[in-house]
Amino acid sequence: MTQHYSFLQLIRQAINHHEGWKPAWNSVEPKDSYDIVVVGGGGHGLATAYYLAKNHGITDVAVLEKGWIGGGNTGRNTTIVRSNYLRDEAAHLYEFALKLWEGLSNELNFNVMFSQRGVLNVGHSLQDMRDIERRVNANLLNGIDGEVLGPSDIQKIVPLLDCSPQNRYPVLGASWQPRGGVARHDAVAWGYARAADRLGVDIVEHARVVEIPLERGSHSVEGVVIEHDGERKFIRARKVACVTAGNSGVLASLAGLKLPIESRPLQAFVSEPLKPCLDTVVMSNAVHGYLSQSDKGDLVIGAGTDGYNGYGQRGSFEIIEETAHAICELFPAFSRVRMNRQWGGIVDICPDACPIIGRMPVPGLYFNCGWGTGGFKATPGSGFVFAHTIAEDHPHPLAAPFGVERFHSGALIDEHGAAGVAH
């Protein structure tokens, strides 16, 4: 039985020198068959498993993860959460997720450190400002909080931001979403893993899916073949749900499918720890950089994607240079800050910068991918609507516009460039 986390529990464990804590979840050996197999133990896959169990009572579920829980983009992202997207379809989906974030620590009994410290999307040109005005007005019509701020208001919120008019890219204004913020990425993966495990979901780490066999006649999925402990093993499943971010193209090809997705590294950096100096999130599309300060004091800095496909989780050097330019342009005071760490995650980019959620042309096969550079913020909502889509074999109303069919019908949801920055 998993321990309930509470203040009382903390006191009880403290008396016992913190030696009585149990693992938050059990990584188990896989059974021979499951009702539903979720491939990918990132935030979205774990949330999917959790909501399958919680909302639909389906607990004969395994999450198969090739590495460790949260070792993919979930544990590599800059954790910006906001919902100020331009298009109705996207705005509704991300706002639904944001509402779940607001109660998530209680829901999971795990502190995901969701901090609504506000998100500023800065504009540097007249066109930027027109786009910002349009987006904020669209947000307000959709019941999403937002405000357009001028340079003097921005300066009050972020004293270190260089708002002087003689800059090469002067700060002319910004959109401000006070309910946006950041969360602890690992905690989201761990919290969902623990909560799903509590409801009876099997979490299997170091299990890489290498084949998706199809039934001969019906061409529906039979299950998956995994590589686990140096051995191959077939796991039968009625439904297979792939939530594998940058590796989605690889998974699709196992079932003989192609996706409208290309995979590229996206980088992030973390600086040495500083005294508190930035208590909100600042993003700029035009100079292309975004940053916040973590509770530990380090600056968390995001960059652009590489200009070409790749699966190396590091990213190109020239992106580092570009990002440094952007950060120094916005915050000259940070020019002497040293970077501690740098890494990359493989993001799955769709032509319209929106996710693909739903059934595939192969019966019993579902994909939730294409979140690209900005899916962390959607984690709870994505799991919720995807679980519904799998359980009912019918898209959740919020997920319906995001089927892969849109790339044939032409009903793309053009968020590219429309939503502040892509993250």
Partner: protein, 97 residues
């Protein structure tokens, strides 16, 4: 930083002189009027996106401004061969980049 051999300049240059255009050898449909929505969608949006060898078009943007093809491994980033537009990749295509 990739070092890429341009078959027109006949020299190896840094990645930031180039722009990657995307997957190569995607043929524009010969009879667009007769194409189904399905086929249009596949042509416009669906890509192989392999983890491994990928054939792609590169543009020497700040050099000779020519387009050419590259076979590159997306996992190791090794450039396997470089060849001009209109040519097919040959394993012998030389690039010591």
């Amino acid at each position: 930083m990739l070092r890429i051999y341009c078959p027109y300049c006949e020299s190896v240059r840094d990645e930031d002189e180039f722009h990657c255009v995307g997957e190569a050898h995607i043929k524009r449909p010969e009879r667009p009027d007769e194409l189904s929505d399905q086929a249009w969608g596949e042509y416009l949006h669906f890509r192989t996106n392999p983890r491994g060898e990928h054939r792609e078009i590169w543009h020497h943007v700040v050099g000779c401004r020519q387009h050419f093809n590259v076979v590159r491994d997306t996992e190791t980033y090794e450039i396997k061969s470089v060849y001009r537009v209109g040519e097919e990749p040959s394993s012998a295509a030389d690039s010591d980049a």
